[in-house]
């Protein structure tokens, strides 16, 4: 799973597979972090301009 895992090999298979996985996880992670931080900031500011 990680490059330091016993099973890891630097080959095409691992790079593609785990690359895809980490890519997806990164997007999700960054996205959620962004949302949470922004929400926290918005909440502190009392920012309430949007309606839905």
């Amino acid at each position: 799973m990680f490059p330091f895992s016993f099973e890891w090999i630097w080959d095409m298979d691992h790079v593609v597979f785990m690359g895809g996985l980490w890519y997806a996880l990164t997007i999700l992670g960054i996205g959620m972090t962004y949302c949470i931080i922004k929400a926290a900031i918005d909440a502190c500011r009392g920012n309430d301009e949007h309606h839905h």
Binding site: F6, I9, W10, D11, M12, D13, V15, G46
Partner: protein, 267 residues
């Protein structure tokens, strides 16, 4: 008024008249009052430290039970007495198997009678030698049943020293407390003293990854016939340029891990 009460009140209000309960500025104001960051951060830090202390200090104390060896043993004293060093007592058998911790049979040569007046010696002779009972030693380096470890391959084949894996136990004057993992039943020496799994010396830990570390460098080189596809070969070369030595060309016997094959160390 605590936030909890506050909330309850809100719910009560809701139940009474729904039309009132649009996000009223009044309530928002209340929330805002409580919104000083101080306690929040403080509690975060308290939580953080409490759990860190729990995880790093209390947890290992709970995880391991401490056991005393049946009798104490002085390696220094014995090493001085014998000719062949470690192998005098921890010897190889003819079929290549390793004898491990000596049996009574070996000790009896010298310890038929009590030697000196240490209480452990007296206990050893009286409790074990004369009764013919084997000493139930707690073995620090005992590996689980799934592990196949060939001392012959390492000592005779690769010419390794005992110290590399076992540390300087031969220079100890008494046996340390044996710590047993309450869940797994392993000796703590397998995971290592450090709960975080960090190590300084080769002998600090005896988990699979520690074996693998050495095996990665000294692995068998085998001619692989048609393992790789051309793309893989290409990538190999690229990686070899960036990280020399990490490419898989001509490495160990496992098709999956390109390390030594699983059966090399497992049974």
């Amino acid at each position: 008024m605590s936030a909890l009460d506050n909330n309850a009140k809100e719910i009560a209000e809701d139940a009474g008249g729904e039309e009132l309960a649009t996000s009223s500025p009044e309530i928002n104001q209340k929330e805002q009052d409580n919104r000083s960051a101080g306690p929040v951060i403080l509690f975060f830090i308290i939580g953080l430290f409490a759990s860190l202390i729990l995880g790093w200090i209390i947890f290992p104390k709970l995880l391991y039970s401490k056991k005393k060896q049946p009798i104490d043993f002085n390696h220094v004293l014995h090493v001085a007495e014998v000719e062949d060093g470690c192998e005098s007592c921890h010897f190889f058998r003819e079929d290549g198997t390793y004898s491990g911790v000596p049996k009574l049979e070996q000790c009896i040569d010298c310890h038929e009678e009590i030697q000196g007046d240490s209480p452990d010696e007296i206990k050893f002779v009286e409790e074990y030698v004369s009764k013919g009972r084997e000493v139930p030693w707690l073995i620090y380096s005992r590996q689980p049943d799934c592990v196949f470890f060939s001392h012959a391959a390492h000592v005779k084949g690769a010419g390794m020293d005992c110290v590399t894996c076992h540390g300087h136990i031969g220079e100890s004057e008494s046996l340390k407390i044996y710590e047993e993992n309450r869940i797994t039943g392993y000796s703590r020496d397998i995971w290592g003293k450090s709960i975080g799994g960090f190590k300084k010396n080769t002998w600090d830990r005896m988990k699979m990854d520690d074996c693998a570390e050495c095996h990665r460098e000294k692995t068998a080189n085998i001619e692989r016939t048609d393992v790789k596809t051309p793309t893989n070969r290409l990538i190999d070369h690229l990686i070899d340029m960036v990280y020399p030595g990490t490419s898989k060309s001509g490495k160990g016997g496992s098709i999956q891990t390109e390390r030594d094959a699983c059966f090399v160390c497992h049974k």
